[in-house]
């Protein structure tokens, strides 16, 4: 074997966004991709295996799409780190630069920057088939000679030219000395040359890797990237100081360093491009006709809202039956498992702990897949760039990115897919801020809780449906306003970021490719199941343990004896009498479950936290419900069913449950579930982070427990304070 482990080659795929880079990456790897992380940052690193015609293999790394290696943020710095292979990543053996043939001029800017780094480069001239439609012709051979690097025309979508590209990669990997390209643009101006030399001397040796040209290339990068308010913490102070001094001197002399460098490269492109590129005719872009509608000041927004409405509807209507099937399948599995296992603690653990815990994260899958289907289509078609622009003004008012709109909207269905959807944003700060407010959106799991409580506040009768509906709407409006307020406050304090200009390319519209969209959907789903799923399963088992143990509690009645008596009576009974006995056994089971739960660790915690709950109008039994709701908010309803002794399968419409709640009192005889207390409880559910899956996913996405801990604390504090204000304020005004 040629490709032994000792000489594992690394090939980086770089390019502008929207050049079909991911499609090419998948075409080269055959879709066999591992998703990891870049060191020190939560940006996905896609790595695949490239099989070359000579039977050797190389590791293929997908670099995030970028227009330039220049950086201001940590995320942008990744481009230089990955392409140059700064430590600890290690220098790649080859860089494949993906160039959109129809946008060649702008794409060549990045190509020139990469060539300057002195690594062997191959240009994959993608979308070659679209040149005639764009009224352009490119002479590939002349282009390769002009740039000094091999150029391979490809059509990543249908695989045209992929074999040729692989042959070229293999040839270069085996002759790397000859493959080192020369700089295209040479900074010949004496003053700029002096600036580069001064900064070069301060480039860390580990970055320069004993290579003088690479040192100069990094010096140019530093002159473009570093300034007083960049967010690059890994840059040595000496380098930063050198850049600061040279820029200050240049400014004083009326020079503009950035312009000299960028214009130098573009001037080279402008003067050399005509040798291989002809614009044979001007074409009216098809995309312009679409944008005349989709970016229209009035129609554009209306259509955007229509698309969003459709997406939101789909999240419910398409996902609901699937969720139903999953729930049914797990219920069937649970009863099947229970029937083959000997009754006891182990069976309970497998059925109610493990299997229910797996079910707890599998139910999220339909909505995740549907949302990522839509996101994939929006991204691949080019519409997502338009969304970022259309929504910029609205979202920026709340210190959010225009792309935050879709995740926030999805939050009304469920926070889990919504948090995953923040991946469409590049900046970590924008992602984080969006992630932190998504759990405040009224997700569908809150509806059963509201249903139960609203029914308690507004009993049936004339006009009840209308008043119940108004109350439900008020809860939605309230939670949305709170989310906006929190975004504003966090965006101005903890997550205060520099103002980022909005300068984005509007890519031409393209028909989304089923393969690309489905693959990203599949990858997201698989990653959620394996990574976030395990955390959710562990949390579910922990919840089960809290609600089940300790077992050796002293019960007020001898349930087993009473059950045995009833069962022996049922043997001789018949007809109505037998049915009556069965009902009494079920009631007895429910009473026992209620008593055991009240005595469990969760029950004890409920007692322990009661002093904090009493000012909000809740007693310790509601406290157990709040704890139980941590598994999923809708579990509050069945928890109340258990605690109030009617069994674990209560639903919000259950008349017995409603009656029990209405009858519940404090030890001194006051009614527990007064309308004011129910309102306070709804406010609590609107704001508190009663969802371990949300916290698990935030932990997964931020790679740590710091932000989920913050989310939990701020939301619980907010919930407690506002419930307190409502309950105590209502009392002072004479309600309840």
């Amino acid at each position: 074997m040629i490709g032994s482990l000792t000489q594992r080659r690394t090939v980086v795929v770089a390019g502008n966004p929207n050049t079909g880079k991911s499609t090419l990456f998948n075409a080269l790897t055959g879709g066999n991709v591992k998703v990891g992380n870049y060191p020190g940052i939560t940006v996905e690193r896609h790595v695949g295996t490239l099989r070359l015609p000579d039977l050797s293999t190389a590791e293929l790394v997908d670099c995030p799409g970028t227009y330039s290696l220049s950086a201001r943020s940590r995320e942008e710095f990744l481009a230089l780190e990955a392409v140059a292979g700064l430590p600890p990543i290690g220098r790649p053996d080859l860089v494949v630069v993906v160039v959109d043939a129809t946008q060649i001029t702008r794409n060549l800017y990045l190509t020139l920057q990469i060539i300057e780094l002195g690594l062997p480069v191959v240009v994959a001239l993608n979308m070659f088939d679209q040149l005639p439609a764009a009224g352009m012709t490119i002479d590939v051979e002349t282009m390769a000679r002009t740039l000094g690097v091999p150029v391979v025309p490809v059509v990543a979508r249908d695989g045209t030219g992929i074999d040729g590209l692989k042959r070229q990669i293999a040839a270069l990997l085996h002759a790397p000395q000859r493959a080192r390209p020369k700089w295209c643009w040479q900074p010949t101006d004496a003053r700029l040359r002096a600036d580069i030399d001064a900064v070069s001397a301060r480039v860390p040796d580990a970055w320069a890797d004993g290579d003088l040209e690479r040192r100069d290339a990094i010096a140019l990068w530093a002159l473009l990237s570093l300034d007083d308010d960049d967010e690059l913490q890994d840059v040595p102070v000496a380098l930063r100081t050198a850049v600061g001094e040279r820029r200050a001197a240049a400014d004083a002399a009326g020079r503009e360093l950035e312009r000299e460098i960028i214009q130098g490269r573009y001037a080279w492109i402008d003067s050399h491009e005509p040798a291989f590129l002809r614009q044979t005719r001007q074409v009216n872009r098809f995309s312009d006709r679409i944008d005349r509608v989709l970016l229209h000041p009035a129609a554009g927004f209306v259509l955007f809202l229509a698309i969003m409405t459709f997406l939101f509807q789909a999240l419910f209507t398409l996902a609901d039956p699937l969720i139903g099937w999953i729930e049914d399948a797990f219920a069937l599995g649970q009863s099947g498992l229970r029937s083959v296992l000997a009754p006891g603690l182990f069976a309970d653990f497998l059925v109610d702990g493990v299997l229910a815990g797996i079910g707890a994260f599998v139910v999220f899958l339909p909505q995740i897949l549907i949302l990522f289907l839509f996101l994939g289509i929006m991204e691949d078609s080019g519409y997502m760039a338009r969304v970022a622009v259309l929504m910029d003004r609205v979202m920026r008012a709340m210190r959010l990115n225009g792309r935050a709109f879709v995740p926030l909207l999805s939050g009304y269905a469920c926070a889990i897919p919504a948090i995953l959807a923040t991946r469409t944003m590049d900046r970590q700060r924008d992602r984080l801020l969006t992630m932190l407010v998504i759990p405040l959106m009224t997700c569908s799991a809150r509806l059963p809780v509201y249903g139960l409580l609203i029914a308690a506040i507004v009993p049936g009768g004339d006009g009840a449906p209308l008043r119940q509906g108004l109350l439900m709407t008020a809860m939605y409006v309230f939670a949305t306003l709170m989310a906006l307020v929190v975004a504003l406050v966090l965006g101005r304090t903890m997550l205060k970021g520099p103002r980022v200009p909005l300068v984005i390319e509007m890519p031409p519209y393209r028909l989304p490719q089923a393969r690309v969209v489905l693959r990203s959907m599949w990858q997201q789903g698989r990653e959620f199941m394996t990574k976030a799923g395990t955390i959710i399963l562990a949390c579910s088992i922990a919840m089960w343990l809290l609600l089940t143990f300790p077992r050796d509690v002293t019960l007020s009645r001898d349930y087993s004896a009473e059950r045995a008596t009833l069962e022996s009576a049922s043997i001789v009974a018949a007809g109505a009498a037998a049915e009556d006995i069965q009902e009494r056994i079920a009631a007895l089971d429910a009473e026992e479950l209620g008593e055991r739960t009240r005595a469990s660790y969760a029950g004890r915690i409920g007692h322990r936290i009661e002093p904090a709950l009493v000012p909000l109008g809740f007693d310790w039994r509601v406290g157990i419900g709040i704890l139980g709701a941590f598994a999923a908010r809708e579990v509050f309803v069945s928890s109340m069913g258990i605690v109030f002794g009617i069994g674990s399968d209560a639903d919000p419409e259950d008349a017995v449950l409603r009656a029990r709640l209405r009858a519940a009192t404090w030890p001194d005889g006051r009614t527990l579930f007064t309308p004011l207390m129910c309102l306070s409880l709804m406010i609590f559910f609107a704001l508190a982070c009663q969802c371990m899956s949300t916290l698990a996913v935030i932990a997964r996405e931020t790679r740590g427990w710091r932000w989920p801990a913050f989310t939990f604390v701020y939301m619980t504090a907010l919930a407690w304070l506002l419930s307190l204000a409502v309950y105590q304020g209502g009392h002072a005004l004479g309600f309840g």
Partner: protein, 77 residues
Amino acid sequence: MATLDDVDVGSSMTLVSLHGARTLRRRLMELGLLPGTQIRLVRKNHLGGFVEVEVRRSRVSLRLTEARNLHVTGVTT
């Protein structure tokens, strides 16, 4: 001399100078919006607060407020 935000849609013009924050200027220049470049204003959306320009065969959107930093000359419709 005019600024990009008060040019009519459909006009072609030459970019004269860029002003404002360094990051904004660098990003614009790296996308090809350099002094001396011919550009065309393709779209202006007041409600959304953005404009779209054609530069070197590609399309770039930017905020109206940021378009004020682009000084242009030779505006022809």
